[in-house]
């Protein structure tokens, strides 16, 4: 017998608490309103945003549906540029490889620039456990790290915090004076992290794109922490999900502005960088070694599902999170996943345990706002429906749900049964039974007043 998993129950409790947290709501609404205004302006820079989306979808479709070819081409070119490539089937393989690399080079300190893929494989914990000091350098990630919390949002890690929250955190953990000035807070982080960059042995980044025809990775950022991470330490490691491939350098002429626009509304973020290996002869600085870790960790499972394969087109811009009415109400932490919001709800059952995470596909009103927002045209809300269908077929739903749907089907198949059912339902509402029958749905909701007659009856009289 299947019951709701503990994870699903935890989701429900967390969602109920967050949905009624008015301060949380105000903070998130303000942040997303600022984002929405910037994105609306940003889209006007394109001749035709819808056509740009179609172009991007075509590029990613081409790559993902010939992924073997592009992975091999990418590897060949990284090696030709003097870099190293490690293929990791699982998170554990990736962690062990990076740990071994750090030990071999006597690495004592790692600076990291923002990377959801390293969050996915819980790299920081592994490095710290091995006694290697690991410092997040993106401002938002740095704040998360000193608070001991995961990122709240894949693009905006501390969207849920106010200036006062962050000042309090800095005051408690770093001993700095309280301030309500965002610039002062940023300068505190800049000064502290500057020292870490100068003394780190290894820089770890993710990759927004991996370019097959030049063997480069592309990094999109605003702060300069990624550039410092791949410029100053003597070893650079990039952790790259295999779905990050794109065929040609020239594809970035579209994909860079598309990611920036959907991520923050900028035409381009402050720094769009390409890294194609270690320091070359004749260059004045740069790391001695460049390592790419190509990560599967469940991605080939998603690839095998042709119906949902386009979920691997994702460029992690965060637009679907910001568009989602559920995300805005329950918040990023309720998902308890690396990737939150609609894209997270689609891919997490594939990347992790399908049963444990099947509840996520119900964390959606199926309104389609995510699909409309997606710059690479992933059919997100239909994939949430596909995941619902799959979990019913695999009998992850509860017996009571199956029974109710069977009863509903039986009633809907005959006009007589439907009429009797309607009469009984109206009677149940009128007598007050429905409120307890429909628990817990009615806990936070009022039932409507039942009409005197059904539409069917009214139509017969009126037509």
């Amino acid at each position: 017998m299947n019951t709701a998993t503990a994870t699903a129950l935890r989701f429900k409790r967390a969602a109920a608490a967050k949905a009624t947290d008015l301060q949380h709501r105000a903070v998130i609404q303000k942040a997303i309103a600022t984002y929405d205004a910037a994105v609306a302006r940003g889209k006007t820079r394109f001749a035709d945003w819808q056509n740009a989306r179609s172009h991007a979808a075509a590029i990613k479709w081409e790559t993902i549906n010939h992924l073997d070819r592009y992975l091999e081409q990418f590897e060949r070119n990284v090696l030709a540029n003097g870099g190293h490539v490690f293929w990791a089937e699982t998170a554990e393989d990736a962690r062990q490889h990076i740990l071994a690399l750090a030990r071999r080079h006597g690495v004592q300190k790692v600076v990291k620039s923002k990377s959801m893929t390293t969050e996915e494989i819980h790299l920081n914990e592994a490095l710290e456990t091995a006694g290697i000091k690991t410092i997040e350098t993106d401002l938002g990630e740095y704040i998360c790290q000193i608070r001991g919390e995961p990122p709240y949002h894949i693009v905006t890690p501390v969207m849920h915090l106010t200036k006062a929250d962050i000042a309090q955190t800095f005051h408690e953990k770093l001993g700095t004076p309280l301030t309500d000035n965002a610039e002062e807070l940023t300068m505190i982080a800049r000064a502290r992290l500057r020292h870490e960059f100068m003394t780190a042995d290894m820089g770890i980044t993710g990759a927004n794109f991996a370019i097959a025809d030049t063997g480069m990775i592309a990094l999109t950022e605003n702060e300069g922490n990624a550039r410092l991470s791949f410029s100053l330490p003597r070893i650079h490691v990039a952790v790259v999900g295999i779905e990050k491939l794109i065929p040609r350098l020239e594809d970035l002429a579209l994909l860079w502005p598309l990611l920036s626009t959907s991520g923050t509304g900028q035409a381009l973020t402050a720094y769009s960088s390409l890294i194609g290996g270690p320091r070359q002869p004749g260059e004045t600085d740069g790391p001695q070694e460049f390592h790419v870790v190509l990560l599967d960790n469940g991605r080939t499972r998603l690839l095998a599902d042709a119906e949902q394969r386009d979920a691997l087109h994702c460029i992690r811009c965060g637009a679907c999170l910001n568009a989602c009415p559920i995300y805005k109400n329950v918040g990023g932490y309720t998902y308890a996943t690396t990737y939150q919001g609609p894209i997270g709800s689609v891919i997490t059952p594939h990347l992790r345990d399908a049963h444990q995470w099947s509840h996520l596909s119900y964390a959606s009103s199926l309104c389609g706002a995510c699909t409309d927002a997606c710059p690479v045209r992933i059919d997100l809300h239909h994939h949430l429906l596909h995941n619902r269908r799959n979990s019913v077929q695999r009998r992850f739903d509860q017996p009571i749900q199956r029974l109710m749907f069977r009863a509903w089907l039986w009633a809907m198949q005959s006009p007589g049964r439907y009429t009797v059912g309607g009469k009984l339902a109206r009677l149940a509402i009128r007598l007050g039974w429905a409120k307890s029958l429909a628990q817990p749905w009615t806990e936070g909701r009022e039932l409507p007043e039942p009409p005197e007659q059904s539409f069917h009856e009214w139509w017969k009289q009126t037509r």
């Binding site: 075509a58 479709w61 073997d68 990791a88 965002a182 800049r190 410029s231 100053l232 381009l268 390409l274």
Partner: protein, 192 residues
């Protein structure tokens, strides 16, 4: 030998035996409106990003006055306009580099390790001055890519960056703050 490579590639190939629905093809219409006057557009975009523009040798001399420790790359243009520096990227007040090109559409500066003084010089100093010529302005990102491809296709620099305004963050309540980690000031000297 790590079998992961063959395992992953085999799984990819097996997965791709099932065909995925192909999305409707895009039209061939241009993705961005054409850039008509590149220099004017560059100036507008760059200023809107809080970049600082310098025209003329007199203004450049004035700008340079307060900077004591200057680090420079060894490109010909920088040598001609600024001369030799007296500090390194780690201990300067001002980093001066050339560039591969300027992009009108986005007000960006393209730097690379082989042409403009390595990786640190254009990101570590608190102020970054770019010495450029007007004829280095290209209309858009696509033309910048074409230029880089032509210049480097046989051997690429190990790192390139498209710099679009000074370092910034909006991680705290979406409030824009300059100088998160990279230069707080980005300055372009446009010579002829």
């Amino acid at each position: 030998m790590n079998p992961a490579r063959e395992n992953i590639l085999a799984r990819v190939q097996a997965a791709l035996r099932a065909q995925a629905h192909r999305p409707a093809a895009p039209t061939t219409a241009p993705i961005f409106p054409p850039v008509t006057n590149p220099e004017t557009r560059f100036r507008e975009e760059f200023i809107a990003l809080k970049g600082e523009l310098i025209d003329g040798a007199e203004k450049l001399r004035e700008f340079l006055k307060p900077f004591g420790r200057i680090a420079t790359d060894d490109t010909q243009l920088v040598r001609e306009v600024i001369g030799d520096g007296n500090a390194g990227p780690r201990d300067c007040d001002l980093g001066v580099t050339g560039c591969d090109c300027l992009i009108a559409q986005t007000g960006s500066v393209v730097v690379s390790t082989t042409s403009t003084g390595g990786r640190a010089l254009s990101v570590l100093p608190p102020t970054h001055l770019v010495i450029a010529r007007r004829d280095q302005i290209v209309p858009d990102l696509a033309s910048a890519m074409a230029l880089l491809r032509k210049r480097y296709d046989s051997r690429w620099p190990s790192a390139l960056s498209v710099i679009t305004g000074p370092s910034r963050t909006a991680d705290i309540e979406k409030i824009l703050v300059f100088g998160a980690h990279g230069p707080k000031r980005l300055v372009v000297y446009l010579g002829s």
